[in-house]
């Protein structure tokens, strides 16, 4: 008899909550994107899923007119943006508390994610991010390394997501 083991990594995966950061949703039409980029001192990438970073602030393009900005707490991005509001109309909304961020790491992290993410997470390049779904929750998934992801999930969805992740974690540990 051959007993085929499936290909899961039974090495542990780590699931942690990360401390809050400043998180802003920036919306601006293409015509004024450069202006905003300039005053924020940031590149605002145009490809959905692309990221850029400067001086501790990170920008992720989520849609053709939507960027998620993250920065250490206390960073003031609102004041410079407001200064150009008249010329470059936009919306900059603080959503720091809307989501919480989980860090998922370990050699089995792709197995963990493939339990509930329909998109091909393995094909995501390191350094990219995407808004996608995890089971019934909309999440933003950041690939920070081969084995390392961050997941932003709306606060009230987090217990559900954590509970699913824990189930899969146990399953991975069981090795079947």
């Amino acid at each position: 008899m051959t007993y085929e083991k499936h290909q899961f990594h039974s090495a542990p995966v780590l699931i942690e909550d990360l401390a809050p950061v400043l998180r802003l949703s920036l919306r601006v039409k293409p015509a004024h994107r450069d202006t905003l980029a300039r005053v924020l001192g940031l590149d605002l990438p145009v490809r959905v899923g692309a990221r850029s970073a400067a001086a501790g602030t990170e920008a992720l393009c989520l849609g053709p007119d939507e960027w998620l900005l993250t920065a250490p707490e206390g960073t003031d991005l609102t004041t410079p943006a407001r200064a150009v509001h008249a010329d470059a109309p936009h919306s900059l909304v603080d959503i720091s508390d809307r989501e919480i961020t989980l860090r998922l790491t370990g050699p089995a992290v792709l197995d963990l994610l493939s339990a509930c993410c329909p998109r091909n997470v393995a094909a995501m390049p390191v350094g990219a991010a995407a808004r996608t779904v995890f089971d019934s929750a909309t999440v933003i998934l950041w690939r920070d390394g081969i084995d390392s992801f961050r997941m932003d999930v709306w606060r009230s969805f987090a217990p559900h997501v954590r509970s699913l992740l824990a189930q899969v974690q146990g399953e991975i540990a069981a090795g079947l």
């Binding site: 919306r27 069981a174 079947l176």
Partner: protein
């Protein structure tokens, strides 16, 4: 060891006995056995009873297509399951099994009286009878018919196991790991393609596992398999056994069910029982092989009558000889090999009966060498034996006439009516089939997906062509990915090529009207049934199927479809392709519900959203109610309080002093940008232009059909920033609707929408003492300019906040929004600060009562998707001067402006009793049924005013103020007076205080 087990033979572990029970009796098998092979090794053929006639049945196959040998299995409490294929279930220590559909026992079953009356139970018999006397249907006939239902018994306890699922993205998915599938995998695994090879069996190798005498590239078949699997593993190919491809969905999505623990003696802790894989493959190769067809003749269903290929599998895979004196009846060469292998293993083969007049000389030679009698050009007309076949009657067929029958004793009868390519998955894709007249079978034709079909699955026979075909298919799949690879060639020795012919029922000299020649074994469909269906006008094969139930059993026609088609076509005088096959549907084999559920069970069945303040509510004894995806505190009972007393206490405390309420679930949308006000004007019925920053307004949102969709208080924080609130259930819907208008209708507007529902935790404070309590905690608010319906960004309890002065209770009220992480802190601070005022936490029920007393509506309760603003008395919320807003045009349609629409009013019962929400209202309580109803009660509560209050929609209600209406309830008619909806403080005195 039993005399049917050949020592040392097969892939079972002869050194590892495993015991199990069947119908209470303990048997021994070997590690690697299935229940069926172990029972056969013990000489047990009788494994079940058929559905309708309760005929004794044995395993007819050795695989997942088994229609007869269905058993119940269990592994302790909650782990019973019916209808498991004994031919698939692997032995494990302590396995308990039982036979089905019998009473009192498998060998003596009273239900078998049906078999005596079989002439009555013809196809479709129940449509023709049980109609008189009419009253007997409910009382007598139906209960009897329903009582006879089913095969096994249902589980009756919750299942302690859990189930898992995965998404998998792969370049090439290969279904079936026989020679074709393995060759395809070898080809596809070149140039780094990601390849997945799956097989439903515990081991890979397919039919080669039953054909060990074949040699490939100079190696015995089994060595060759091991070597190739090693190569595939080394190339990184994902090899998945016990994994059935159950369905082929759109765009190369294939569902796989992997069975993880049913074969294990003791599964590891935390291991799921089964896992559903949703595979997205760029290319799919179907190498599912072919299914052997039974032959249709009288008595072809007795235990001991089985497929020749199955006998060969029992012999080679399990080392089990299915009988000492097998006879063979066939129309295909392949069964000859089974006969030879059995003879070589020591069985005395009674005869090979071939329906064909001429047979390949080498086969005849080989039979002669083994001393096997050959009857070519013969048919089998019947068999004998009650619980096991004892003999058959063979007769010669010449020019269509049957003559000279002769009885041949045997202890099993191996049949083969040729092979049918497994086209199930291919057919799920709506790929078309073409009839192959030579092979008497359907083959895959036009494809709709990126798929290749290889091997016996497209009608090829013999290992040499099948291996070559598999390799070519694998290479094409690789090329389909835009990658290159080398073609492979295999050298096959001792190949077993073969051809055959197809039949309807075998010719017989008996009375065909009396023949029990089974086509669908499980459902007891005979050839005669199919002919009867055709005679009765069932010309479509789909009608034949439904009238006779042919192909509707748990094998889904794997045994019966083609035979049924051949017979139906014959009866119709048509060619099989003109008749066609019935539709193949997922799953390929029956698949547990658990595997479909995956993680959608228990607490992860569907998510439950909780607010930041929820832990406090839980700790303080709140009773919760589900509202949309949220759970919300419903009320906070104190010791000994029921809902009614708790709610009344909460209401009174709020009216008297101060109440506190978690409103965090309210939807919130930030509408920002220079065109925000224009956007608001277009979306909402209300006018927004003149609303000053720092003020709020009730907003009403309609659908384009003019009916109320949502509402909420909306604050203008600055000229181009609105803080919109929505109902709890409407949050996502409203945002989507707004985005839709913005993106598709008004992309020119400079305005953006951001959901902030979860950014803010919201605490509502209401009551005459609210200002006294709140003021000291607030900074940056000019209280002299902060009247009712104001809003401000400020600091509350040291936290950054958005403060709204508004009321949903009729008392002075505030909503404090703070960043969600501080929600609980804010709540606790306010509770502390409220102590001097006997602050009272209240839940959604009190909120409902208080708002109802004040006549505020709840969208979804007082309105139901058929209510316009006018109907709800919300005319005032419509910006009359606005030329347009979403839904405006619909408000002037004829039936919307017609008289007599139902309008929202208040109701007070004359006897002071509480009305039921949903109670219906009439004007004349004495009319006969059906009564003319003029409306219904939408909201009804005991109130703080000493008498219950209600709201209702009533035809022409606004013009009926003061009139009496009637509410007929089962215990008597209530009388109620129509009033205004505002019961409490109609002059708003308390808000202005």
């Amino acid at each position: 060891m039993s005399r049917y087990r050949i020592s040392g033979k097969g892939r079972v572990d002869h050194a590892a006995p495993v015991s199990f029970t069947f119908d209470g009796k303990t048997y021994r098998g070997l590690r690697g056995d299935t229940v069926a092979s172990a029972l056969l090794a013990n000489g047990v053929h009788l494994m079940g009873r058929s559905f309708k006639y309760h005929r004794p049945r044995g395993a007819v196959t050795a695989g997942s297509e088994e229609p007869n040998a269905l058993i119940g299995t269990s592994r302790g409490p909650g782990r019973f399951e019916p209808n498991t294929r004994a031919t698939v279930q692997e032995l494990r220590a302590g396995l308990v099994t039982e036979s089905q559909n019998k009473w009192p026992s498998l060998s003596f079953d009273l239900g078998a009286v049906n078999d005596r009356a079989y002439m009555l139970f013809s196809a479709g018999f129940y449509y023709k009878t049980f109609m008189w006397p009419k009253s007997f249907w409910d009382k007598v006939y139906e209960p009897v018919i329903r009582g006879a239902a089913g095969l096994g018994r249902s589980p009756t306890e919750p299942d302690p196991d859990h189930y898992a699922s995965r998404y998998l993205h792969t370049d090439v998915l290969i279904v079936g790991a026989g020679p074709a599938g393995i060759a395809a995998a070898l080809a596809a695994a070149q140039s780094g393609a990601d390849v997945t090879l799956v097989d439903e069996n515990p081991e890979m190798g397919g039919s080669l596992l039953s054909d060990p005498g074949v040699a490939i590239d100079g190696r015995p078949a089994w060595d060759w398999i091991d070597a190739q699997l090693g190569r595939l593993r080394a190339a990184g190919v994902r090899l998945m056994t016990r994994t059935t491809a159950i369905g082929y969905y759109h765009q190369n999505m294939v569902g796989l069910c992997q069975r993880l623990t049913d074969h294990l003696d003791s599964p590891p802790k935390g291991a799921p029982r089964e896992r559903m894989w949703r595979v997205r493959a760029s290319q799919v190769v179907l190498a599912q092989g072919a299914l052997e067809k039974p032959l249709v003749f009288d008595g072809n269903d007795r235990p001991g009558v089985m497929l020749a290929g199955a006998a060969q599998t029992y012999l080679h895979k399990y080392g089990v000889r299915v009988g000492d004196a097998p006879a063979v009846v066939t129309s295909h060469d392949s069964a000859w090999y089974a006969a030879f292998d059995l003879a070589d293993s020591g069985a005395k083969v009674a005869a090979i009966i071939d329906t064909r007049a001429t047979v390949r000389p080498d086969l005849l030679d080989a039979a002669r060498q083994r001393g096997i009698e050959v009857l070519a050009g013969h048919t089998v007309t019947t068999t004998t034996g009650r619980l096991r076949v004892k003999s058959l009657r063979a007769a010669a067929v010449r020019g269509g006439t049957v003559s000279g029958g002769r009885t041949i004793p045997c202890d099993c009868l191996l049949m083969c009516g040729g092979w049918t390519p497994s086209l199930h998955l291919f057919s799920h894709t709506k790929g078309s089939l073409a009839w192959d007249a030579d092979g008497g079978t359907f083959l895959p034709d036009r494809k709709t997906e990126a798929v290749e079909i290889a091997g016996a699955g497209r009608g090829l026979w013999g290992y040499d062509p099948v291996l070559a075909d598999g390799a070519a298919a694998g290479l094409r799949a690789l090329q389909g990915l835009g990658r290159a690879g080398h073609p492979a060639a295999f050298r096959v020795a001792n190949d077993r090529p073969g051809t055959g012919t197809s039949h309807t029922e075998l010719p017989t000299d008996g009375n065909p009207g009396k023949a029990r020649a089974f086509v669908d074994f499980q459902n007891d469909v005979t050839a005669k049934d199919i002919r009867l269906a055709v005679r009765e006008g069932m010309r479509s094969i789909e009608h034949v199927k439904r009238y006779t139930t042919n192909g509707m059993a748990t094998d889904q026609g794997k045994m019966s479809n083609i035979n049924g088609l051949m017979i139906a076509a014959d009866a119709l005088g048509k060619q099989p392709p003109q008749v066609g096959l019935t539709t193949f549907r997922p799953p390929y084999t029956p698949t547990s519900f658990g595997a479909f559920c995956g993680y959608l069970r228990g607490e992860t069945f569907q998510l439950t959203r909780k607010t930041p303040i929820d832990p406090w509510a839980e700790a303080n004894g709140a009773v919760f109610e589900p509202v949309a995806q949220w759970r919300r505190a419903w009320y906070f009972p104190k010791a000994g309080e029921d809902m009614h007393t708790a709610v009344l206490r909460e209401c009174k405390a709020t009216r008297a002093s101060l109440g506190i309420f978690d409103a965090s679930t309210l939807g919130k949308i930030e509408v920002a940008g220079p065109d925000a006000v224009e956007f608001m004007n277009r979306m909402y019925t209300n006018p927004w232009t003149k609303l000053q920053p720092g003020r709020c307004r009730y907003g009403l949102l309609l659908g384009e059909d003019g009916f109320i969709r949502d509402d909420g208080v909306i604050g203008r924080l600055s000229p181009d920033l609105f803080h919109v609130t929505t109902t709890t259930g409407g949050a996502a819907r409203v945002l989507t609707m707004m985005e839709d208008y913005l993106q598709t209708e008004w992309p020119d507007l400079d305005v953006w929408l951001t959901s902030t529902t979860e950014q803010w935790a919201t605490v509502a404070l209401n009551g005459p003492n609210v200002l006294a309590m709140l003021k000291p905690l607030v900074q940056d608010v000019d209280w002299d300019d902060f009247p009712h319906m104001s809003c401000a960004e400020c600091t509350v309890a040291g936290l950054p906040a958005r403060l709204f002065r508004l009321s949903f209770t009729g008392e002075i009220g505030f909503e404090v929004n703070v960043p969600a992480r501080h929600g609980l802190t804010l709540w606790e601070t306010l509770m502390e600060a409220g102590k001097p005022f006997d602050i009272c936490p209240y839940g959604t029920e009190t909120m409902h009562v208080l708002r109802a007393e004040k006549g505020y509506i709840i969208v979804g309760q007082d309105t139901d998707g058929t209510v316009t603003p006018q109907d709800a008395g919300l005319d005032w919320a419509i910006g009359k001067a606005k030329k347009d807003f979403v839904g405006k045009r619909s408000l002037s349609r004829p039936d919307i402006v017609a008289k007599g629409r139902k309008q929202l009013v208040g109701l007070l019962t004359e006897d002071g009793s509480l009305l039921q929400e949903g109670a219906q209202i009439v004007l004349d309580p004495d009319q006969p049924k059906p009564m003319r109803m003029v409306g219904h009660v939408t909201s009804s509560y005991p109130s703080t005013m000493g008498h219950p209050i209600a709201m209702a929609v009533i035809e022409g209600g606004f013009d009926r103020m003061g009139e009496t209406v009637f509410i007929p309830m089962p215990d008597g008619v209530r009388r109620a007076r129509i009033t205004s909806t505002v019961f409490y403080d109609p002059d708003n005195a308390r808000l202005k205080a």
